[in-house]
């Protein structure tokens, strides 16, 4: 019975490892199955590990143990694998590095690549999108490091490394002749990407999601969220190395794709549930959005201010910025701008490369 219930939960999209099912069985043995509440809490504390999953769990529990109304608990996600045609990897390697080569084929293909680099994302077709994705996966998102509490060995320094010093002293008959030192290590700052997936961003969001995926899969400590009518965390979905799989998972997770925009409300949700609590503290936060907001611009301004106070650096990427004579007329954009540390373009591959540089160079300009 417990095993069947676990399968129901899995069908509804929860991650239920077999070890936890065993734990659940053991727990049932202890609390008994006479009382509904006991069974409920035993199941919940052994099988659920995230507050987001509680609603799904509750529904599944009602159906399974209380024979409640079945209202689409389990909907197996579409598992049809879509394989996108891609160019030969080795070919692209040569292209991207842009090295001069006598091979005529490469020269021929170099030019479209250049065109592609500066082409507006909005005018991309499927093939170009895939090509762009491969280029983006090579971007480096280093970012400035922060000082870590962890020490590492150093040539010289202020802090003696007693462990190493002692080790060598033993063989010298107890005389610490050689001395070792250590210095504080460095850690990468967290990078948080917030992608606007509303209707007005549609031409760009597809390409930008690939950019976000490249960042999430490319290094540690990257978090990704989508903004639309609601806030959705997509870090887990995008974490797969397989881009097709990652993008499909993320698209499934984001329910408000190409819907309306409530930037201010979404940012508030981000600040409340993640950002101010710790995720954005000392981090580099990048918002990818055109700044069109249906909500109250005052809310957006307020939330931006709140966010800026905890971040190390706040970058706004606006694909519309490149248009000649662009002025931040969108009310949301105007409200947000005072709190943005860097305001950059984001309409093309070249612009995204520039963004990667901005992220990497933040410290240089600060210090």
């Amino acid at each position: 019975m417990a095993v069947t219930f676990a399968r129901v939960l899995r069908g509804a999209g929860l991650l239920v490892p077999i070890g936890n099912v065993l734990m659940f069985v053991e727990a049932l043995g202890r609390v008994g199955i006479d009382e509904r509440d006991h069974v409920y809490w035993a199941a919940r504390s052994t099988l659920v590990h995230r507050p987001e999953d509680v609603t799904i769990f509750d529904r599944a529990f009602a159906v399974f143990w209380e024979h409640g109304e079945v209202e689409s608990v389990a909907e197996d996600p579409d598992t049809v694998k879509v394989t996108l045609a891609t160019d030969d990897e080795s070919d692209d390697d040569t292209d991207a590095s842009g090295e001069a080569s006598d091979d005529p084929t490469v020269t021929l293909r170099f030019s479209p690549m250049e065109v592609l680099r500066n082409k507006d994302f909005g005018a991309y077709d499927e093939t170009e999108l895939i090509l762009a994705q491969q280029l983006m996966s090579r971007l480096k998102f280093a970012g400035p490091p922060r000082r870590s509490f962890r020490f590492r060995p150093a040539q010289s320094g202020s802090r003696p490394d007693l462990r190493a010093t002692l080790r060598t002293a033993i063989s010298a008959g107890g005389e610490p002749i050689r001395r070792f030192w250590q210095e504080p290590g460095e850690r990468m700052r967290r990078l948080v990407l917030l992608l606007d997936v509303s209707g007005s961003m549609e031409p760009y969001a597809r390409a930008m999601l690939r950019f976000v995926h490249a960042a999430v899969a490319g290094r540690q400590r990257v978090e990704a969220f989508s903004l639309g009518t609601r806030l959705t965390r997509v870090t887990r979905e995008l974490n797969s190395r397989d881009p097709d799989l990652a993008l499909r998972q993320a698209s499934q997770r984001v329910q408000d794709w190409s819907g309306g925009t409530r930037l201010g409300e979404c940012l508030r949700a981000f600040n409340d549930e993640w950002g101010v609590r710790g995720l954005a503290r000392g981090a580099i936060v990048v918002i990818l959005s055109d700044g069109w907001d249906r909500g109250d611009p005052a809310v957006l301004g307020e939330q931006m201010q709140r966010l800026q106070r905890v971040t190390y650096d706040l970058i706004w990427v606006n694909p519309l910025k490149v248009s000649p004579g662009y002025a931040p007329l969108a009310r949301g954009m105007a409200a947000a701008l005072p709190y943005v540390d860097h305001f950059v373009e984001g309409h093309s591959l070249a612009a995204m490369e520039e963004l990667a540089n901005v992220i990497a160079g933040v410290s240089a300009r600060r210090s």
């Binding site: 006991h38 007693l162 010093t165 002692l166 002293a169 005389e175 995720l279």
Partner: protein, 337 residues
């Protein structure tokens, strides 16, 4: 059993010293850290100053019964850390606390060698001419000896000598980094620590382990899988009143009800940081210290800083109207459960 006797005494002593208002005769006669039902856990925790809801009581019961670590997540100030403290008071096990932070490593959490003393020992051996005769091997053996070992929290929890298992609180695990989590996973799987120079340390009485997280990032799935999990919610109105009464005994019932009602109203105002139980208690204490017996607009306004810790939140409360909030709180506090 010595352990049970100790718990018994402490429980009785506790009741006497706090003049605990709930009827607890039934509990006092069967004090034990081996409860047979969640209800028993609930009673025992209440007796020691913590009022759990059913979910938490079940989770704690299972933690004790299945000997698994308990992972508590929830907003700041809902009383996650307090769970470990009350478990320690109840079982009589020593509370060993490990506060996590970014970059915490084994030397700070598990063990380290006392290098300065080791160096001194070496110098002494050398000065007396002993070192030359002994050879490197013997010298090393002398140095990597338990007497030069600095036992940190995790090591203390494993290498305890008492009858009663200690309560190990690993606080704010989300602040530590992944590498540390991986280490912790290993230690929590078989309650065993290996020191290369000394060998394995293990225990027959594993500690009661409570982990807390504020959820600034996801704790790794592998670690979660090992643990029982409970998301700690803000208490409902009646429970919060009881908590205030218990923690701030000098605040009279009507005031406690008004405070709980006002806090409940504030939580509904979309605050940056909705007040937690910790703030409710702070506020009640502040009011108690001021000798207040009834909420009024002026008192709330002047003590707002103990409940709402953001300027914007205080402004929001004032904009909403403190007079109205007080009135609302009065009405709510009159409602019977």
């Amino acid at each position: 059993m010595v352990g049970v006797g100790g718990v018994y005494d402490e429980a009785v002593h506790h009741v006497v010293s706090m003049a605990w208002p709930l009827a607890c005769d039934a509990m006092a006669s069967t004090p034990t850290a081996h409860p047979t039902s969640p209800a028993e856990v609930s009673q025992a925790l209440s007796l020691h100053g913590y009022l759990p809801d059913d979910g938490l009581a079940t989770a704690v019961f299972l933690t004790l019964a299945l000997k698994r670590p308990l992972l508590l997540e929830g907003e700041a100030g809902v009383g996650k850390t307090e769970v470990a403290k009350v478990l320690s008071r109840w079982t009589g096990g020593e509370l060993i606390r490990l506060q996590c932070y970014e970059g915490i490593n084994a030397a700070q959490a598990v063990y380290d060698w006392d290098y300065s003393r080791q160096l001194l020992h070496l110098r002494a051996a050398e000065a007396s001419g002993e070192a030359r005769g002994l050879g490197t091997g013997v010298l090393e053996e002398q140095l990597y000896n338990e007497r030069f070992l600095l036992k940190r929290a995790l090591m203390q929890a494993i290498d305890h000598r008492g009858e009663i298992p200690p309560v190990l609180l690993i606080d704010e695990i989300d602040r530590a980094d992944d590498e540390f989590e991986a280490y912790l996973l290993e230690m929590l799987s078989d309650y065993q620590i290996t020191i290369p120079e000394l060998g394995k340390f293990t225990t027959t009485r594993p500690p009661i382990v409570v982990l807390t997280s504020n959820r600034t990032r996801d704790v790794h799935d592998a670690l979660k899988r090992r643990c029982l999990y409970h998301w700690v919610e803000h208490p409902d109105f009646e429970r919060e009143v009881k908590i205030v009464r218990m923690r701030v005994p000098n605040v009279i019932e009507p005031l406690a009800r008004q405070v709980a009602a006002a806090v409940e109203a504030m939580r509904g105002l979309n605050m940056y940081k909705p007040p937690g139980v910790a703030e409710t208690i702070d506020w009640a204490q502040a009011l108690g210290a001021l000798g207040v017996t009834e909420l009024d607009e002026h008192t709330v306004d002047s003590t707002l800083g103990t409940v709402l810790k953001y300027r914007e939140d205080q402004e929001r409360a004032r904009q909403h109207g403190i007079a109205g909030m007080v009135k609302q709180a009065f009405e709510r506090s009159m409602q019977q459960p």
